[in-house]
């Protein structure tokens, strides 16, 4: 390290402001959050804090800055607690989760380019990835499989426990995987922490008179785009392979296992169909027995039987029950952990819907007129 020998390396802490040591440093230096919000000397800190939050809603995420001097490092370090104040003020679950993703991606970039393995090790451990020395020469570290399970990103099959080198409870990891796990650990931690932050007093609103309304506007635009993704008619082209397979099976009158029928009904329901619409959707199948299925569908959608609305099973459940057509998964599958997210993602890449969507058969008159 460039600053080896100094008791605390501020440049290092600035890159990883989430670790407890960074928090202790800020406290020990006597910085008060109140001062950070009002003092003219901290203008740059506040600007960087806004940038952090705003960056989390941008495609490229939070821009990294190279803090060359100690002063720049302090700006970077102090901007993190201020950014948290902004999030606490905005108090929005969607933003919180975007922010958690963006900060953890930034962490990944920084850790990946870190020269010193010990830094990777220290940061990982500080963020709740308790590494242990590797038992072989090939790997960077080993991790107890229960810790591995807590942080492993669920969507990628190469992260499944079954594909790990697991021995006596420990998974062998290379450095890149340690970094990825640390990213996930930070993301989980931030989601929990920020959600629990108490709403700050008026001083935050006062400190960001222009910035807060601007952030609110950006956020609203994001929400609108997200909502648009799943509204409108259901489009089979955007179904994930699992739902396509189940739907294909139903059309071909193949006996679909209970879990499969359950999955597609909850899926359609979550896309906004009520039980009538689901029935109508199924009635596209010739000689589909509406009455036989009505009870089941109404039960699953919560219309009868205590009103419990069931949620669509995620990818890992689908796999466990053997409903995920493993061989037919495509690139979108590997980027999501839930069939509904597949649909949202796929929908964005499709051209606008044609006038007669499958769920509503064309009106008889229209057909006659043509």
């Amino acid at each position: 390290m460039a600053n080896a020998g100094r008791p605390v390396d501020v440049q290092l802490l600035a890159r990883y402001p989430y670790v407890p040591l960074a928090r202790e440093y800020v406290k020990a230096q006597g910085y008060q959050l109140g001062d950070l919000l009002v003092d003219a000397a901290f203008e740059r800190v506040r600007r960087r804090a806004v940038q952090r939050v705003k960056g989390s809603m941008e495609r490229d995420g939070i821009a990294d800055v190279a803090a060359a001097t100690e002063a720049e490092s302090e700006v970077e370090l102090l901007s993190y607690p201020v950014a948290r104040l902004l999030l606490a003020e905005l108090h929005d679950p969607y933003l919180t989760s975007r922010y958690a993703v963006a900060e953890s991606k930034l962490l990944n970039e920084r850790l990946s380019s870190e020269q010193d393995d010990r830094v990777v090790w220290t940061v990982a451990t500080a963020l709740g990835v308790p590494l242990e020395a590797a038992s072989d020469t090939e790997s960077f570290a080993r991790l107890h499989f229960l810790d591995f399970l807590r942080h492993a990103p669920g969507r990628d099959p190469s992260w499944k426990l079954v594909n790990q080198r697991l021995s006596a409870g420990f998974v062998s990891l290379d450095r890149a995987r340690v970094v990825r796990l640390t990213e996930q650990a930070l993301k989980d931690r931030l989601e929990d922490e920020v959600a629990e932050l108490e709403r700050p007093g008026r001083e935050v609103a006062k400190a960001f008179p222009k910035e807060l309304p601007e952030l609110t506007t950006i956020l609203a635009a994001h929400r609108a785009r997200f909502a648009q993704d799943t509204s409108g008619e259901v489009r089979i082209e955007a179904f994930p392979p699992c739902m396509k397979a189940i739907w294909g099976g139903i059309q071909a009158h193949v006996n679909i296992p209970h879990m499969g029928r359950f999955a597609i009904v909850t899926f359609l329901h979550k896309l906004g169909m009520d039980s009538e619409a689901v029935l109508k959707f199924f009635s596209q199948v010739p000689d589909f027995d509406v009455n036989k299925s009505r009870y089941q569908i109404e039960h699953i959608t919560g219309k009868i039987g205590g009103g419990t609305e069931y949620s669509t099973p995620g990818c890992s459940t689908m796999q466990t029950y053997g409903i995920c057509p493993l061989e037919q998964r495509d690139e979108v599958c590997f980027s999501i952990t839930h069939p509904l997210n597949y649909y949202r993602k796929r929908l964005r890449t499709l051209p606008p819907a044609k006038p007669s969507p499958p769920a509503t058969p064309p009106a008889q008159e229209a057909a006659n007129a043509g």
Partner: protein
């Protein structure tokens, strides 16, 4: 709710009550967090399931067992703030044991066997599950485990390790998937490779080779090695004609000459090299390297579907991923067999004979009427009983009545 009780229901209830009177409180191992458990019961001849029952102390449980003599008794693997509450939210989940449940239903081929043979087969699979997966791979020690015979056709392994209790359902599912090989990516373990090796005559090595994990690799690596050896050995052991058929099936339209080469390749497979050789970089890996035909064969046939069944473990998947499951109470009786749910040490399992060691009743002769022809084999008493009256030892009478094959006279 009350169903009409038949004579055998009354008789069994009396015998079960007597058993509970004679024996200490069931479930010694979980007394620690006793108050946080939910209990559930089914009774002889009655359909309703009594659940959401909390027991303040083991004494109350004992009294309950003696007074109500349930046919089946269960407790929650989960801990709850209020086990009496009717809904999950009100119950307040506080963690759950990690459970592996292996029943004859999950063991391929077991359905064709008789009860005794089924029990034996399930036991073998259970030992593999506990020793290879739970202990060797997951690293749990025997002191973290509670192992039981279920009283029916299976065994349960409870992991009580503090760190396992907080696992959520998705994490538990990953653990099941590990055991059953679900989602295994074979191509992450097996790599076709080109190794240029000099040599001639019978030392000639093919350019193409398949590199596999060594036999001593932890986790699925070693299992894949074992599965490949098992598969190739089985193929080699086939009679010549059958072997031809199998190979032809995998190589549509293979020429006679190539078939011969493939046969020869198979004969020359070097088991030691498949198990593992030291590579120049110091790692140990297995090599299947004889001949271009065997390489093609492996490419086509050594798929997930061929290999995983040879190496996978068996366990009831939904049981493990369920964080609020009820499971049989150790020390209680199983109402379909009359056998006891027995807590076992790992060392005792191999020699454990449920039909002798889980017997809860004695040899007192009991007069019964057999209503369906039945085979019974318990506590050293073995008989094929035709319909009609018979006198059998108490343990056999209990078992026959539990199965619904006999009534008391």
């Amino acid at each position: 709710m009350q169903d009409e009780l038949r004579p055998q229901d009354v008789w069994l209830s009396e015998r079960f009550a007597d058993y509970y009177r004679r024996n200490p409180t069931p479930m010694p191992a979980v007394v620690e967090r006793f108050r946080e458990r939910e209990f559930g019961f089914l009774f002889h001849g009655q359909k309703f399931f009594l659940r959401h029952v909390g027991m303040p102390t083991p004494r109350e449980l004992r009294q309950f067992m003696i007074q109500r003599a349930p046919a089946h008794a269960y407790y929650s693997t989960a801990f709850y703030q209020d086990p009496n509450a009717k809904t999950m939210v009100e119950k307040g989940w506080r963690g759950a044991e990690l459970i592996f449940d292996l029943d004859a239903d999950h063991v391929p081929g077991a359905e064709k066997l008789g009860y005794r043979a089924q029990l034996e087969k399930v036991k073998d699979h259970f030992l593999r599950l506990v020793e290879d997966f739970v202990m060797r791979d997951f690293g749990f020690a025997e002191k973290d485990l509670l192992l039981t015979f279920s009283g029916g056709r299976g065994y349960h392994c409870h992991v009580l390790h503090g760190r396992a209790l907080g696992l959520n359902s998705a994490e538990r599912r990953e653990i099941v998937d590990f055991v059953t090989g679900t989602g295994l990516q074979l191509n992450a373990f097996i790599r076709p490779m080109t190794l240029r090796t000099k040599g001639f005559g019978r030392f000639q090595k093919a350019d193409n080779t398949v590199v596999i994990p060594a036999d001593d690799e932890p986790g699925w690596g070693g299992r894949i090695n074992e599965a490949i050896r098992l598969h190739l050995a089985a193929l080699k052991a086939l009679p010549a004609e059958k072997k031809d058929d199998v190979l032809r099936m995998n190589f549509n339209g293979i020429t006679k000459a190539r078939l011969l080469t493939l046969q020869k390749d198979l004969d020359h497979l070097d088991e030691d090299r498949i198990r593992g050789v030291r590579f120049p970089d110091g790692t140990r890996r297995g090599i299947v390297d004889v001949g271009v035909e065997i390489y093609k064969y492996m490419e086509r046939t050594l798929t997930f579907d061929t290999l995983v069944p040879l190496a996978k473990g068996e366990t009831d998947e939904p049981v493990t991923s369920d964080v609020k499951r009820l499971i049989r109470l150790p020390g209680s009786l199983h109402g379909k067999s009359g056998l006891r749910v027995v807590t076992l040490d790992l060392d005792d399992i191999r020699g454990f004979d449920p039909l002798a060691d889980a017997v809860a009743f004695g040899t007192e002769p009991i007069r019964i009427r057999v209503e369906k022809p039945a085979n019974v084999d318990v506590a050293g008493f073995q008989a094929d009983l035709p319909v009609g009256e018979a006198t059998v030892p108490e343990a056999a009478a209990v078992m026959l009545m539990c199965r619904g094959a006999a009534v008391p006279i």
